[in-house]
Amino acid sequence: MFKKIGFTNKWSVISFFLIILILMPSVFILIGFFNPISDTWLHIRRYLLKDYIYNSVILVFFTGLFSIIIGVSLAWFVNAYDFKYSNFFKWGLILPLAVPPYIGSYTYVGLLNYTGVIQTFLRNNFELVLNQSYFNIMSLSGAIFIYTIFLYPYVFLITHAFLQKQSASLVEVSKTLGKSPISIFFRIILPISRGAYVAGTTLVVLEVLNDYGVVKYFGISTFSTSIFQTWFSLGDINSAIRLSVYLMAFVIIVLFLEKLSRGGKQYSYSNTKIKPLKAKKLTGWKNWSMFIYAFTVISLGFIIPVLQLIYWSIISYGKILNMNIIQTVLNSIGVSLVGSFIILVAAVIIANTVRIKKNILTKNYARIAVLGYSIPGAVIAVGVMIFFLKMDNFIQLISGQNNMLLLSSSIFMLIFAYLIRFLAIGYNSVESGFNKIGTDFHEASRTLGNGITKTFFKVDLPMMKPALMSGFLLVSIEILKELPLTLILRPFNFNTLATRAFEYANDEMIHESAILSLILIFISVILVYSLTYIKKKGR
């Protein structure tokens, strides 16, 4: 029986249990959906749900649209043209990813408010006192600006990588057919890169739906904020579960639309000789306008917020620089290292099983492993909390100690939630590493008398170190910046840079949150840079 479901080695057994574990929180959410409806839910459904849906749709649609415009245009410009500092922009334009949107949001609020740098400058130098509503960023359109400027790099990154590999001959043949650069962009580049920018935009949209920090700070009601509110302020877990299911339905619609807009539009080259595009050297106003465009985007998404944070840090470091901050930094680094390690181990076990045992069961392993990234943090938090409380109930039943909350008050719960949410990132890196080395080396080792485990450690592992390192770094960055899961599931008195920075900002102590935010951004920049270095070396 065991052999029939694929239990032929240790790898498939462990994978099976990992997959079951990953599915558990979702199962509990689904079961919870059928609990009796409460008065709170009736109130939410009647008066609030419409707002949640409206706000989420507006945020998702416009952030997606603007991210495509900025991400695709910049990806094309840095690929096709050689303009001032274009080589720097190739990786510099990724830097806004190092700034979590919630940090960006309170930085911009501080910059633009009455006592902020901009209004103070206008008052002191030009005696200009403008209408405050011009500077109010705490609105739906403000949130769209924040999300776009800090999340567009997802579209930029994927489209840039795609265009880098594109056949130069397509552009060259268009030129010989008399097409202008604008015509080439709209008739060739946009259609062929559709799959890439749709994938990038989907990531942006999923991040928007996952976000809690920006909308909470701006006072915008979305599914994320309402799940928190229903659960913690109203104490109604069943309604929180219902909202989670609605949010998941929203996510499924997004993923369906992604599939729909990509379906039938996947172009591939008819020959394998793909040479990179030779960038055209720009001079004069064209050179400067490209530079100004790219520099404006990077300034808004990185330079301006970071300079503001540095300024605030300088004026507030005396108040905040103490032993607690070191502890917070160590917590952040520790939890992201341990979390990333566990995620990578799980990803390797599942991906290796999928690679070696190809059957219907393992095909679904791959789907389940990447599922978590599309589930917003607040939903995972609800599911994981219920799952761990059930396990604690079970432990209490066995041990006879009624007040013991062994698992649901521990760091394991948080790490487990990270595993579900970020396994997709680790899994994709590991899978691409396995794809790159193929199966010949593995099979050669097997025919030479080595089992799966020995083959993995002696042959596969040394050959896919770069892929594993990339996966580790990517997951570390995500855990470091993660907010909603950490806020809900962290053990009592356990703070990370993200939670502390957010709490300070939420308590109107923006200056105090600056140093923590800066440290977080600094570590993220190092990780992002290491990642691009590894990828460059790998090429």
Binding site: D440, E443, A444, R446, T447, L448, G449, N450, K458
Partner: protein, 238 residues
């Protein structure tokens, strides 16, 4: 029969058609068999089934009186004592020639291992290259390293999947000669998959022509080449 495949059905994807259907194959001990056929005819699949890298839907595989695979038994690749040379050699890029060859005999003592690897290196004329990494070797040297790695474990059968496809014509002729010599010296039962009739002519005692998973013609290479019995065999053996 030393190698015996009986009544084999195989397909890569359950929804697809069978690559092999009711396939039968018998080889005597010490014999060298060449399988010729066009791409997709199922010739590499036969090697992968013998090596245990794939499992058939139906039928039985026996190597040296031991059942390797049938409805109730499956001997995994690491326990089959089968040596295989892959089409692109699959030399481990992070290991030297010496390390690549000694990889399959790590159960032996260090001294025994060294001695055995040196003997094999001498056989394939690669002693001077033992400290090099695969990327520092020529195509022919890479091929001989892959061969050495496969035979050092003293397998029951040797499987060669398109062993000359990555070599240029001049090199092919030389390597064929030395491969024949090595196979003769160790007297191993060998199966060579190829689409080049010269491989069969120079190396094999027996030849089969394969089309869509079925044997179209079988016999001694010289006879088959002079008297192909179908248009397909003629085109393959031309």
């Amino acid at each position: 029969m030393f190698v015996n495949m009986t009544d084999i059905d195989f397909c890569y994807d359950k929804n697809n058609e069978n690559i092999l259907e009711d396939f039968e194959l018998n080889i005597d001990k010490g014999q060298t068999l060449s399988i010729l056929g066009e791409s997709g005819s199922g010739k590499s699949t036969i090697l992968r089934l013998l090596a245990g890298l794939e499992r058939q839907k139906k039928g039985q595989i026996v190597i040296g009186n031991k059942i390797m695979n049938n409805e109730n038994t499956f001997v995994s690749p690491e326990n089959r004592e089968v040596g295989m040379v892959f089409q692109d050699y699959a030399l481990f890029p992070h290991m030297t020639v010496f390390e690549n060859i000694s990889f399959g005999i790590s159960n032996l003592s260090k001294k025994q291992r060294k001695q055995k690897v040196l003997e094999t290196l001498t056989l394939v004329d690669l002693v001077d290259h033992k400290s090099k990494y695969p990327h520092q070797l020529s195509g022919g040297q890479q091929q001989r390293t892959a061969l050495a790695r496969a035979i050092v474990t003293e397998p029951q059968i040797l499987l060669l999947d398109e062993p000359f496809s990555n070599l240029d014509t001049n090199l092919k002729n030389n390597i064929r000669e030395s491969l024949k010599e090595i196979i003769n010296v160790i007297g191993i039962t060998t199966i060579i998959v190829s689409h080049d009739k010269l491989d069969a002519l120079k190396l094999a005692d027996q030849l089969i022509v394969l089309k869509e998973g079925k044997i179209k013609q079988k016999g001694i290479p010289e006879q088959l080449i002079s008297k192909p019995n179908t248009g397909y065999a003629e085109s393959i053996l031309a």
